[in-house]
Structures are given as structure tokens and as C-alpha cells.
């Protein structure tokens, strides 16, 4: 759908251009061909020998007439994928050819907008950029929203909760001229702010509390990352530090427990339990499992911080953006030393240093011991394989027998167990023979070294744990730490069976402002630290553009760039490029990376404070409101619906932080069972804020899912909003909503006005009072919680 409507916009846009000025290769032709032709016609892989990304190549086919011939006709031969070019697009190319197919690029390809250097900072106001564009389009801004509307808007925006009637009244009664600014500052100082905005961040990084896939086991230590994000926002951690800490907080700020916990970012995504824990070392599928696991980390990192789709270069060079396949595998090499596992950390810096020292010793000891252990583990011969098969056979049959009842099966069980014991002993003898007698004393010595370090570690106070990226952890089944970074090869067509040259840790080469080369090192932490510094660099123009656009999107309902995690050629172009750049520079230089200052700037702008009312004349011209002639009306997101309902019912439990709240009945099994229907909304934890819910990847809460809460396995830079019958049923019938309506009624003690105030911030109407009188306040509460008035924010 996005692509269909983008095409409409693009078509209208090009028509406008065609009328206004001569066709430019640089401005008009190149982007069109980049979007529609360069997938197949790119350098190094040019179908039919035509390169669509250089002016030389394009001029050749333009002058021969081939360009227009293949794109037109009843069934155009090109493009092979997607719809034919629109008449407006064809007309544009025809005009360019007719004008002599001039190349105005000056012989060099201009940098894509998102990669260009940022301008010098300059005095301006946010509103001036918006108003200029409106003036250019002969549009005017809307009048300010009334204070009652504004106060609800800014509360929901900054806290994810509507104001209480008392909070609304206090604001309306505040005589100070800067009452609104005071309110915004007060909201930003509240911990509710971090809870609300951390939820946005967790969408972007696809945070979840279980692994996903088959055997979707809970992650008991994922939550410290969630809490660290909330805390970082509430403390207004400067953005560059926030970025760096998530990639390498353990290396760059090792004694800051909050920075350490932020490394939970590395492990936020799904994890294939079976692939890691049950597949044998060295098998193709094991290698594939690891490849895809690192792919998830690379994709999450690059789309989150720099809004680039580097993951599109796994099988081939990026088809649209200047990201060669080697860059992608260099990024994989950055993460080649870690797996997702629990890592200990301490609040006390002295203790932290002590533990770090011991863990380094332990890693060194394990590195010495591991080759010896491997010698034993991987010792093999035909006779050993035969025994392995028999041992496994016994295991399978025993598993299948379970706990037998009848005598024959009991006898069979005994027989199998005896056979297995004998086979194991025989196997051991064979292995001993292969590895030689000197191995075992060496192993014993290595184990003693480890035990000595372990004893010292055990003497330390119990640490905290965060599920993060770890180079070392205790082995479980076939899931074992790398100890040193695993070699990463550039894979032909992304296939683990076709390894090419070795990759070396590095970043993207497409940013002229920054070096993509990292120092060569076998210490995995240094690799991550190098990437963290690259991402957090003041010269990384992508980082700054990306974050201001994200913050803009959450405030205004749409980003200046409508594809917040894709600033490449397949993404959208900024609606207000100068404003985006100005904001990026302002945020970096003036605000010093303070997100709270950025929020303050945005929500106190006149643009934000406009009314959201429809204006037929303006809508005719800019129905999407891309130019912001009014404020966008938004629907409460899933978490806000739930939290606002709890608040109105007087039940919202504001306890912060800690282990995720399991709002389901849990039964561990081969694949654990998560039963939401069996959960009582009044059970302990049932009334905590939604950000503290336990997020199951394989089985999301159906109620939240129906309100467009995203699948926690999907990177979600922007939520979709749907309005469906199934959603209506959830709002109307779900046990949580039905129960909260009852609590609301109890709280209102017979007063429908009070009840309506809590839900909608207004007194009850005559109809509503009559209905309540006839059917009870609880029934009225149920109705009001289902209104558009409750669900939408003007």
C-alpha cells in the first residue's frame, strides 16, 4: 500500500515539475531510474549491458531511442518488476530526451541527500521552515488548538496517558503566560515520560522477553535493558552516549551499570534456540544459524541508528544504495565474537572492576583449556560413530518409553540403560586411545585454573544479569562461546556453503565524512567499541538526521522522512529537507544531544500547537497533511489504550521497573504455552503500565495485537493503525476492558458525570445518564471506553 500511494505522490510531483522547469538529469531522471531500473541495471551486474546509474549509460540508451521504446507501449517491456512507469514519468523522460538528454551532474554523481554533509548551524525557528513551505503552496497554518485539546495532546504524547480531570483543570487555571512551557517541562521531568518514549525505542529495536522460533523460552534477564532505556531517557542521557552504550557500553563505560545494561540492545531480537543449542558444531545449519543471528544484529544496528538498510547487502551489493557486500560482512565481523547470553554486571564500580579482572582471567584460562576439551569432544573413528548411533538409539527409545508401567517395557528400559552404559564405557576407551594419555592431566590442570578463578568469582556478591552480547558464557548443550571472534567470510550469494575472502571489521564506506576502516583486532569488544564510536561520531550525519526524524515522527504522527529506518533510495525523500538538517545540527550542537530539549523545541512550536481540525480547502491541496497545515489526529496506540483505561479506572499501578509482568498463564513445555485468556486482570502485576508486560514473540497478547501492537520479532520504526471488526470486538468484549469498566463504575460511586470526566474529560450527556440509570454505570463505562472520543487524540 505504501508503494501504491507513493507512486501517486511521485506521479503528481513529477507533473508539477514538468510544468515548472526544464528536466534535469540530476534532479529528475537519475532518481527515477535509480528507483525503477537500477536493481537489474547496476554496475558489475548490468542486464543487457545497460548501467542505469551513470549518465553515460543512460545517455547511450536515451539517444538510441531504446529507453523510451522499452518503457512504453501497450505492454511495456520494462521495468520487469512492478507496474509500468506512469504516463507522467514517461512524459518526463521523453521531455528530457527531447531537450537533448543533457547531463547536468557535472560528471560526478551527487551524494544521496541523507549522506550529504550537514550545513553549519544557523539561527532559525522550526516554525519558519514549516511556514515557508505552506506559503509556497498558498496554504496557511491552522489556528492554535484550544487549551483543553492541547493539554490532552501533550499528555498523551509525552506520557502515553491522558491528563486526569484535576491535571486538566490545573493547566486551564494556570494564569502564567508560559503555563504551557511549564507544563511541558513538568511532563518531561516525570518518570512517565521515560516509560512512554522507551516504548517507541523498543519498537525500533524489536525488543522481546522470549526467544521466538520453536521452543520460545522466556528470557529472564532481558528486562534490565528495557529499564536502562527508560532510565536513560528519564536522565536525559546525551544521545551519542545512548548510542555508544547500546553497542559497546560494557567496553566504553564498563563501570557504569546503566551503560552496561544498555548493551541489551545487542540481544534484543529473536534467537533460534534449537539452531544454537541443539545443532552440532561445524554443520551447515549451525553456520546458517549463526549467520542469521549476526544478520539480525547488523540489521537492527544499522536501521536503528543510521536508518540504512545494510542488511539488503547480504547476498549481493545493495541494489539501490552505495553499500557493497563487503561492507555488510565487515559489519558482521564487528559482532563475530558475541552470542546472545546473560552477562553479569555490578552497581558498585569497585566491585565491577574486580569482576571484570576475574572474568578476563577466566576467559584466558578457558582459551587455554578449550583446545584440549575439543580434542576429546571431536575425537572420532568409524567405531566411535557406530557407538554414537547405538547410544543415541537407546536415548531415543528411552525417551519414547517415558516411565513405563507394564513389565515388558520396564524390562526393555533396563536393557536399554544397561546397553547404553556399556557403550559409553567402550566409547570412552576408544576416545582415550585417540587423544593420548597426556591430554587428561592437561585438562585437569586447565580445569583447576578455571576452578580457582571461579572460586574467587563465587566469593563476590551476587551480580545483576542482563541478556546481552557475550564473548564468554557457560556452555549449554551445543551452544558454546566463541572465546575469540569467529572468522567471517564474504559469502557468495549469502550462502554459507560459498565462503569468499575474509571480512575485516569495519563500517559503511558511503559516508564521506567518516572513515569506515577499523583497527585490526582479535578482541571483540574493541571491534564493537570502534563501531559504537563510528555511530556516535558528530560527523556521522546519518545518526543525527535519523534521530531527529524519529522524534519528529512520534510527536507529529508522521516523520519529515516517512521511512524512518530507511534513508536510502527506496525510502522516502524528506518533505522539509532544510528543516531536517537544521534540526539535526541544532540537536547535535545547541542541544548537545539532549532529547528533552528536542522534545521541548518540538512540542512548544506553533506547528505542534495547531488545531487538528479538518479544512476542506487545504485538504484538497494536501490531503496527507505533509506540509502540516494542521496537527495530525492520532489514535491511541495499544499501550496507551490499556494504560489510559487503567488510569480512568483508578487502577493504574505505577510501580517502575523489574522483571517483566507475565499477563498470561505460563506452562513450560517443549514449546512453552502462554495462555492469555486464563489471566485475571486483577491479578498481581495485571495493572502495571504496558511497557512492563512480558512480550512473548511467538504468542503476542491477542488484545494488544488487535490494537496494532507490533509483532516483537519485526523491526517496527512506525506502527500501522487499523480499525477492524476484530479490534472492535476486543475493545468491547475483552476481559480486561470489561473488568475495568466495572472498576470505573465502582470508583464513580453512582455519579455518571464523574465517570465521564475520568474517561473523556467532560460531563455525561443526557443520553449517557439515562443509559446508566437503566443499565448501570458499569455498562456506561464500557460504552465510553469504546468511543472515538476516548480513542482518538485531536
Amino acid at each position: 500500500m505504501a508503494s501504491a500511494s507513493n507512486a501517486v505522490v511521485a506521479a503528481l510531483f513529477t507533473v508539477a515539475l514538468a510544468v515548472a522547469q526544464p528536466v534535469s538529469y540530476q534532479r529528475d531522471v537519475a532518481p527515477l531510474l535509480a528507483a525503477r531500473c537500477s536493481a537489474c541495471h547496476q554496475p558489475g551486474n548490468a542486464a543487457a549491458g545497460f548501467v542505469a546509474t551513470t549518465p553515460l549509460g543512460v545517455k547511450k540508451v536515451a539517444n538510441s531511442g531504446l529507453l523510451l521504446a522499452t518503457l512504453t507501449g501497450e505492454k511495456p517491456r520494462m521495468p520487469k518488476v512492478g507496474k509500468p512507469l506512469s504516463p507522467a514519468e514517461v512524459a518526463l523522460l521523453a521531455r528530457w530526451v527531447a531537450q537533448g538528454s543533457q547531463d547536468d551532474s557535472g560528471g560526478k554523481q551527487e551524494l544521496w541527500w541523507s549522506l550529504r554533509p550537514l550545513p553549519q548551524s544557523q539561527p532559525a525557528t522550526l516554525d519558519s521552515f514549516i511556514q515557508k513551505k505552506l506559503r509556497d503552496a498558498n496554504l496557511t497554518p491552522s489556528p492554535p488548538a484550544d487549551p483543553r485539546t492541547l493539554v490532552r495532546r501533550v499528555y498523551v504524547d509525552l506520557h502515553g496517558l491522558p491528563p486526569t480531570p484535576e491535571q486538566t483543570a490545573a493547566f486551564l487555571a494556570d494564569p502564567r503566560p508560559d503555563a504551557y512551557e511549564q507544563l511541558v517541562n513538568q511532563l518531561l521531568a516525570s518518570p512517565r515520560y521515560g516509560e512512554r518514549w522507551a516504548r517507541h525505542w523498543l519498537d525500533i529495536v524489536h525488543y522481546g522477553d522470549s526467544h521466538g522460533y520453536d521452543k520460545d523460552k522466556p528470557r529472564p534477564n532481558s528486562w534490565p535493558y528495557r529499564d536502562a532505556v527508560i532510565r536513560a531517557l528519564n536522565d536525559d542521557m546525551p544521545y551519542p552516549r545512548f548510542v555508544r552504550a547500546q553497542i559497546a557500553g560494557d567496553v566504553l563505560y564498563p563501570d557504569d551499570p546503566h551503560a552496561f545494561a544498555l548493551t541489551g540492545f545487542l540481544a534484543a531480537g529473536p534467537w533460534d534456540f534449537v539452531g544454537h543449542q541443539e545443532l552440532r558444531e561445524g554443520s551447515t545449519d549451525k553456520n546458517l544459524t549463526r549467520l542469521l543471528d549476526r544478520d539480525d544484529i547488523v540489521a537492527t544496528t544499522m536501521s536503528t541508528f543510521v536508518s540504512m538498510t545494510a542488511h539488503c547487502a547480504r547476498c549481493h551489493n545493495h541494489k539501490f544504495d552505495p553499500i557493497p557486500q563487503t561492507d555488510y560482512y565487515n559489519l558482521q565481523a564487528v559482532f563475530a565474537g558475541i552470542d546472545r547470553a546473560d552477562r553479569p554486571y555490578d552497581e558498585d564500580p569497585a566491585l565491577s572492576r574486580q569482576r571484570r579482572q576475574l572474568l578476563a582471567e577466566k576467559l584466558a584460562a578457558q582459551r587455554r583449556l578449550q583446545p584440549l576439551l575439543d580434542r576429546v569432544e571431536f575425537a572420532s573413528s568409524p567405531a566411535i560413530i557406530t557407538l554414537d548411533n547405538r547410544i543415541q538409539d537407546a536415548g531415543l527409545l528411552l525417551a519414547h518409553l517415558g516411565t513405563p508401567k507394564n513389565p515388558a517395557d520396564i524390562e526393555e528400559k533396563k536393557r536399554l540403560e544397561a546397553r547404553r552404559t556399556a557403550d559409553r564405557a567402550e566409547r570412552q576407551t576408544l576416545v582415550d586411545h585417540i587423544v593420548g594419555p597426556e591430554t587428561y592431566p592437561a585438562i585437569d590442570k586447565g580445569k583447576a585454573e578455571l576452578a580457582a578463578v571461579d572460586a574467587k568469582l563465587a566469593a563476590l556478591p551476587t551480580p545483576k544479569f542482563v541478556y546481552s552480547g557475550a564473548a564468554y558464557f557457560s556452555r549449554v548443550g551445543a551452544f558454546r562461546p566463541s572465546l575469540t571472534p569467529r572468522p567471517v567470510h564474504v559469502l557468495d550469494r549469502g550462502s554459507v556453503s560459498a565462503p569468499g575472502p575474509l571480512a575485516r571489521p569495519g563500517a559503511l564506506h558511503c559516508l564521506p565524512s567518516l572513515s569506515a576502516e577499523f583497527p585490526v583486532t582479535e578482541e571483540e569488544g574493541d571491534r564493537r567499541a570502534a563501531l559504537a564510536n563510528w555511530l556516535g561520531d558528530p560527523q556521522n550525519v546519518l545518526t543525527w538526521r535519523s534521530i531527529v526524524n524519529r522524534v519528529w515522527q512520534y510527536h507529529f504522527g508522521a516523520g519529515l522522512v516517512d521511512s524512518p529506518s530507511d534513508f536510502g533510495k527506496m525510502g522516502s525523500q524528506p518533505s522539509h529537507p532544510e528543516l531536517l538538517d537544521w534540526l539535526a545540527v541544532w540537536f547535535r550542537d545547541e542541544a548537545q544531544g539532549s532529547l528533552k530539549q528536542l522534545h521541548l523545541l518540538l512540542v512548544t512550536s506553533a506547528t505542534y500547537r495547531q488545531s487538528s481540525a479538518h479544512r476542506a480547502d487545504a485538504a484538497l491541496q494536501d490531503g496527507d497533511n505533509r506540509l502540516l497545515w494542521r496537527m495530525n489526529r492520532t489514535r491511541l496506540d495499544a499501550e496507551s489504550v490499556r494504560d489510559a483505561t487503567l488510569l480512568a479506572a483508578g487502577k493504574l499501578d505505577l510501580t517502575m521497573g523489574g522483571p517483566a509482568v507475565r499477563q498470561f498463564a505460563f506452562k513450560d513445555d517443549h514449546s512453552p504455552i502462554y495462555d492469555y485468556a486464563a489471566f485475571d486482570p486483577d491479578a498481581p502485576g495485571g495493572q502495571r503500565r504496558s511497557i512492563y508486560r512480558f512480550l512473548v514473540r511467538s504468542a503476542p497478547d491477542p488484545f494488544m495485537e488487535r490494537l496494532d501492537c507490533p509483532d516483537p520479532s519485526v523491526l517496527t520504526p512506525k506502527r500501522t493503525t487499523t480499525l477492524t471488526a476484530i479490534q472492535a470486538l476486543a475493545m468491547w468484549n475483552n476481559r480486561f476492558m470489561v473488568r475495568m469498566a466495572e472498576h470505573l463504575a465502582d470508583r464513580a460511586k453512582g455519579d455518571p458525570h464523574q465517570l465521564a470526566q475520568w474517561v473523556l474529560g467532560r460531563p455525561a450527556s443526557n443520553d449517557e445518564r439515562e443509559y446508566a440509570a437503566k443499565h448501570s454505570l458499569a455498562n456506561l463505562a464500557r460504552v465510553l471506553l469504546n468511543t472515538n472520543e476516548f480513542l482518538f487524540v485531536d
Partner: protein, 456 residues
Amino acid sequence: MQRRNFLSSFGGLALAQMLGQERDGLHHKPRAKRIIQIFLSGAASQCDTFDYKPRLIEKAGQPWDPGEKVELFQSNPGVVMPSPWAWKQYGQSGKWVSDLFPAMAQCVDDMAFVHSLQSKSNIHGPATFMQNTGFILPGFPSAGSWVSYALGTLNENLPKFVVLPDRRGVPPNGPGNWSAGFLPAAHQATTVRVGTPHPIYDLEAPSDAKYITMSSEREGLALLDKVNRSHLQTHAGDSRLEARIASYQMAAKLQLSAPDVLGIAGESPATRKLYGLDDPITAEMAERCLVARRLVERGVRFVQIWSGADNGFPRRNWDSHENLAKDHGEMGTAMDKPVAGLLRDLKSRGLLEDTIVHWTTEFGRMPCSQGSLGRDHNPAGFTTWLAGGGFKGGVSYGATDEWSYKAIEKPVYCYDIHATMLHLLGIDHQRLTYRNNGIDRRLTDVHGNVISDLIA
């Protein structure tokens, strides 16, 4: 621009509706309108069902040597293991079918078999994702969601995509298998737990909410409508507000139609017998197959029936590592008659003409033994069949080697099966796209060929 505002407001509208092409398919004239997919969770064996290889009988018990190193999921290759079931030929086509499926065997002339299917993973989780979504990773939309997104509804009173899980539990990956991924939530599956007291989540208020009565419900919805309409008066020009008002009317219709479609009491004794409802061994699968027919009959686009739950013990799906004769035997017997009954019933009602029935699994099993009685995973070659909706009957496409180990003739992936099913639904799989995270995503990723040999 107005149009775009309208479209983006709904977010859940099908492409066909957006493009005004619903009647003629999305891209070309369709042969089929709907799909029933039967998914055998845990990996059903090809060489014990439809992929007949006399070589396994000849070489029974001998060391298995396919001439290359074989990497198995759990084990090292054991000896050649013939199927515990005998084989017979059936129908005009003379198709060989094992004695595990005597009833389905009677329908072979309506089935198009693909024997050369491969998977990119030999792990249940990723491979089950792949058969459902085309990707071995979580987070991608399932085929049912794509069809919902592409074609929209045939009956506004019912959901477009319905999943009927096995009563013993959900398969590996859980509901992630039928996720809408990044598609709008309107294309999520509706799970129907057939035979339980509350088959559809939130279809009615909890029965212990005593304050809700028939009249409070009815008048409450009327009041809600009135309040929302008066709100609309002061909030003109926003189609979302109207869409939400309409969603409550559609919800009410869904409430009314659901009991009717799920209630099988009115089915004739002959029909009940045909599906095996009268036999406790087949009754559970029979009920779901019958409900599937009732759903597609009333316009549901995509119904997915699961045979089997997760891979745990005691075995409750097709993952027969330990004792294939016992575990495949129980699973197979429970599904044989119901699935055959479904095919016959659809055919006699004329529904098979434009309904695709797809029988599939995440990968196959090895022709050699694992331990003494089981079989390990085999992603290199396995069998799926399709029937109705424009598929040829009585044909077999592609082949594995002499062992039923590797697809050697016309190997295909799920991309090709999906492309072919979409083609018959009037959809060009290369043009059914949705932009996510920088890529125009497809059900068929960057692969897929329509297998024209399968199309009647």
C-alpha cells in the same frame, strides 16, 4: 490526494479493493477463490506416504550410502529403512500410496503431487516459518495474511484468514506461523479453537461479567453509535472515525454469523460419516475439516488446518525420530479419512472447482533409520500435494533420487508452490509487494516460478 488519505486511513484494505479489481483477481482472471491448507506439523515423511521407492524395500537393513556425506539434524545415517506400510497403486493415474492413507489414496486422481520440494532449513522452527511465510526467520507475513492483503473479503461478516490449530496445542513457533508480520493488523489470522466453549477470542463478553445483559449490550451498542456519530459532527473530514463506527457494525455481524458457521449439528449423517466424525480416532480432525468446508463455503479466503502440535513428548505431531510406525501411524490414521472426506465433500458440492486444497509439511524424513525405528529430518526432498482450484488431478511433478532422499528432478521450493497458488488466485507473485525496512517484500522473496505443469 483525497484518495490517498482515504486509503491510508483504513490501513487494512485489500489491494484488490484499493485498485477496484476485486471481481477479476488482483492481476489476472483467477481460477481459484480460496485455499484450505492442511499443515502437518513436525515433518511428515514422504517415503512412508506418497513417494514410493522400491529400492528401500530391496536394500532394507543394509548400510545406506547415497554416495556423499550426509549431514543430519541429530544423528548419523543408519541403515536403509523401508516403510512399515505396504504400497499399492490407485486410481486412473496408478499412483502408489502407502497403506497409511487408504482413504486419501482414493482421491489421487484429484491430486497434483510435487515430490521435489526442498527446504532451506532442517530445523523445525525456521523450516515451518519458511513453508508459511517464505522466510526462515520470524516476523514475516504468512501466506494467509498475504492472500487477505491481496484479495480482501468475500463475506464481510467473517474473517478472511482463519486458523484451526490442533486441539493438542500449537505447532513450533506458535501463532508466529500465522502472523501478519509487517502487514496491517487487519490481515491477522483469526484463530478458531473448534470444539471448545469459546472458539473465537473476545467474540462475546466473559460470561462472569454479570452486569452485561442482552439489553444493556444492544442498547449500549446503540448508544455507542450515537455518541460516535455526534462526535463525528464536530470532527468532519476524517474517514477513520467513520471506519471505526462501521467496525462495530461488522463486529455485530461477525458475532451473529460465527455460531452458524461453526455449528455442525445440522450436517447430515452421511456427511458426518464421510469425514469420520463418528469415529473417536478421526473425530477431532474430522470436525475441523468440516468446519473448514463451512468457512470457505461462506467466503473465508484462507483456512489453515494444523495436524499436530509441537515437537514434545509424548509425541503429538509428525516428528517421528524414535518410532515412526507408531507415531506416524497414529497421526496418519487420525487425518486420512477426514481429509479424504473434505476433498470428496468439496467436490460433490462443486466447491473444489475454485478451492485449492494444499497438503504440506515443513520438510521430509530420511530414508535411513534413526536409531532402530525412527527417521531424522530431511530437507533435501519431500512431498506436498495440491488439489482443486485449477490444479491438475492425477499428476506427479518432480522426483527424488532412488532413495527418496534428494530432489533430483525439477527441484522446487515453497516459493514455487506459493507462486503457483497465487497465480491461480489471480495474483502475480512478483507484483504482490509490501514495503518493509527498505525492501519491497514478497511472499516469494526474490524467487518463485509458477509451475505451469501443475495447472489444468
